[in-house]
Amino acid sequence: LAKTTQPISMDSYEGQEVNITCSHNNIATNDYITWYQQFPSQGPRFIIQGYKTKVTNEVASLFIPADRKSSTLSLPRVSLSDTAVYYCLVGDGKRDDKIIFGKGTRLHILP
C-alpha cells in the first residue's frame, strides 16, 4: 500500500486559490490518486481522481508531476464553505486493495 503524507492543517482566505500537496513516494505503477472532502458530521465526498499530468473538473484541479511521487489539489477562489478536511488516497482499485484515508488536511478558510 502506498502511504500518503499531507499537511495536518492549512489556513487561507476567501477568494484565494488553495493548493494542498500530498506526498506518495512509493506509488505503484497502477495506482491512481484520489481526493476526498469531508465536512463536519458528514461522510467524505469524492472530489477528483487522476493518474498523471492534470485533471480538472467543476470543483478542483489535480496536478501530478511526471514522477508521480506527489500530487497537488488546487481549489480555485475558495469560499468559507470550502472549510473541510481533504484526504489524499492512492490505490489501484483491485479487489484486495484496502482503501486507507489517513488523517487528511484540515483546511480553514478565513473571511
Partner: protein, 114 residues
C-alpha cells in the same frame, strides 16, 4: 434513490453490551466498507467486502465482526462493546473501478459506549 443508509444513527451502549449496525445500499455496488472516525482523526478502515458472502479485515478489525449475506447489506457487529469503541461509524459502497475511485458514504452512526 436513498444511496447508502445506516441504521441506527445514534446509539448509547453500556460496556459489555452487543449491537449491530446495518448498512444498506441500493446502487447494486459490489464493494462495501466500514470505517470509524474519532474526534480530530481521519477515517480508519475496520472491515470491507468485495462481494456478497466475502469479508476482509481492514486497519482496525479487533472487537468487530461483519457479515455480507446479501449484496445490498453490510452488517457491523460489536459482540462486547468497550468505551474505546465510542466513535462515529461510516459505511461506504462502490462499484469496481480504476483507482480507489468514488466511494459513496452514509450519514454516519454515532455510538457511545459508557
Amino acid at each position: 434513490n436513498a444511496g447508502v443508509t445506516q441504521t441506527p444513527k445514534f446509539r448509547v451502549l453500556k460496556t459489555g453490551q452487543s449491537m449491530t449496525l446495518l448498512c444498506a445500499q441500493d446502487m447494486n455496488h459490489e464493494y462495501m466498507y466500514w470505517y470509524r472516525q474519532d474526534p480530530g482523526m481521519g477515517l480508519r478502515l475496520i472491515h470491507y467486502s468485495v462481494g456478497e458472502g466475502t469479508t476482509a479485515k481492514g486497519e482496525v478489525p479487533d472487537g468487530y465482526n461483519v457479515s455480507r449475506l446479501k449484496k445490498q447489506n453490510f452488517l457491523l457487529g460489536l459482540e462486547s462493546a468497550a468505551p474505546s469503541q465510542t466513535s462515529v461509524y461510516f459505511c461506504a459502497s462502490s462499484p469496481p473501478q480504476v483507482g480507489t475511485g468514488e466511494l459513496f458514504f452514509g450519514e454516519g452512526s454515532r455510538l457511545t459506549v459508557l
